[in-house]
Every structure is written in C-alpha cells, then in structure tokens.
Symmetry: C2
Subunit: 186 residues, 2 copies
Amino acid sequence: MGRWEPNARGRLAQAAFELYGERGYEQTTVAEIAKRAGLTERTFFRHFADKREVLFAGSEILQDSLVRAVIDVPESAAPIDAVSAALETVVTVLRDREFSQRRQKVIDSTAELRERELIKLASLAAALADALRRRGVPDLAASLAAEAGVAVFKVAFERWIAGTDEKDLSELIREAIDELKAVTAG
Amino acid sequence: MGRWEPNARGRLAQAAFELYGERGYEQTTVAEIAKRAGLTERTFFRHFADKREVLFAGSEILQDSLVRAVIDVPESAAPIDAVSAALETVVTVLRDREFSQRRQKVIDSTAELRERELIKLASLAAALADALRRRGVPDLAASLAAEAGVAVFKVAFERWIAGTDEKDLSELIREAIDELKAVTAG
C-alpha cells in the first residue's frame, strides 16, 4: 500500500491538510499553503481553484471512476449490480483511512464545507443515474439505483471513517449493499 | 381539497412566494414581504427567522410528522415498512402541487437555497435513522432504511413536481418504493 511520491499537487494538498488541522480551515490562506509546500501561490492556482477545492479534488476523481465503471459493467448486469461493481472500484482510490479521517474532520468543522460535500454527493447521484440511463435503464429505476448506491457509499464511508473496526472500505460497501437488499426485502 | 384560510403566517408565506416569483429571491426584502402581506416586519420576524426560512418552514413540519409516524408504526413492522408508512403521511402535508412547483422554482434559481435543501434532506435522513434506532432497529439497517426512504421521497417528489402525469404524491411514493424493492432485488 506504500506511500505515494508527492508531486507539486500532492505537496500542496498535504500542506493544506496539515494547516487545516493545525490552525483551522477558515484561518488558513493559500499563501500559507504554498509556503508550507515550498511552492508559489501561482503554482497553487495552477492545481486548485481555491483552498476549498483542495478538499474536494478527490470527489471529482471518484465520480469519474464510478461513472466509467458503471458504463463498463457488462450489459446483462442489473442496475444495482452495475452500481455495486462501480462502488468496488472506489476502493482503489480511497485507501488511506487516516487521510480520509483528517479530511472529514476539517469538513465537519465548517458548515460551508459540509454543504459542499452534500452537493458533491447529489452530483454523484445525478451522474450515476445518467450513466445508468445510458445503459438503457428506465428513468425511475436509474434514479433509485443511483440514489441507493450513493446511500450505500455514504453509510459505508461513515463507518469506515468512524474506524470502529478494521474492515476495509470494500468490505463495508459489500456489507451495506447486502444490508440494503435485506432491508428493502422487508 | 379546499383552500386554507390564511392567518398572518400564511399571508406572509404567500406574499414571499409571490415576490420571489415576480422579482427573484435575492432581490426581495423582508420589508417588501411584510408590506405585501399588509403586516409589519416585526410580525414577519415573529414567524420566520429570515426570508430563507419562509421556504423551509414546511420541511420542519414534514420531518416532525415523518419521525412521529415512524415511531407510531406497530413494532412488528420491518424498518422499510415503517418508513413507507411514514412517507404515506407526507401526503397529508403536501397536497398543493402548484405551490410546491413555485417553491421549487425559487429554490432551483439560487445556489444557497439548493444547498439548504440538501441539508434539510440530510437532516431528514438522520432524524429517520434515529427514529428507527429508537424502535430497536440495528444501526446499519436503520441508516440504510432511512437513506432509502429519503431517496424514495426525493425521486417521487421530483416526479410529482415535474408534473408529467396526474398521479398524486402518495401514488408516486408507492411506485418508487415498489421500484426500489425491484431494483435492489437485482
């Protein structure tokens, strides 16, 4: 699972997370982030639109890989199985729980960031529903399978972050999907 | 389905909705809302914290009645059936589609309001999960049944608002629950 070699983008992200943790998100400036990373503000803005986007750059990657995975699942698969398969790919992006925990702590501390996170989840559901419709899934089924998938991701991610056990995210996602199936079976 | 007799609160809400529709949410002031309703600003602030809350006062009522309904469902009911039953009560609060459509148009026009709506939905999911846990439903099942319920509500509400057919909200909720069950059965 070895550490990644940080490039400019990675160094900026790392510096930002350190500073958000040390002095709080609102108190941290882009100038300070760049300085801590040993880079210029100009370089910062080549990689991120603002200090908020450092926290959400991963969400875009996540959404893109989920959508691609949904499209790539064999056509015979039912919508929920396409979504399950897509969620499995998430795990390859989200491996570092400690990092995700630190990120979540920053987000939970600021109303603006919590709102931003909800928007990203809503956008994820819309993108998944769209990918399912492109597979020929009817509108209502596409919307519900996408929303169910996001619910599974949200609940599994919260459990993973809470870190009450040693299960990895893929395991927690499988558990959540199984539980959702059991719950909706009534 | 007769029209309700507007009291001060109702007159303020009506005036606010009219003005949001006519000149836009951001351009409307509390003073203008009070004037249109034939009331004072002081009276406005006795009923609403600010001009945004006029749009979301109904969300609180909705959440309260959903939570109460979940608690009231016979103990033998499975979590998803408790949530279904709770959603059925929603219909008694949300009857006026034209009003809901106008409200949605205002919300969709402003990023701040769209964010607020997502927060209200997240808070609804948390409240429903909490109500289920108080029924003795285990944590994971409670979270997933609550998220599934909110997904059903969201999708059914969007279809209702879109107004492509003449089904009422309760019918659309039942259809969405049935579809969710079919979708998760794979």
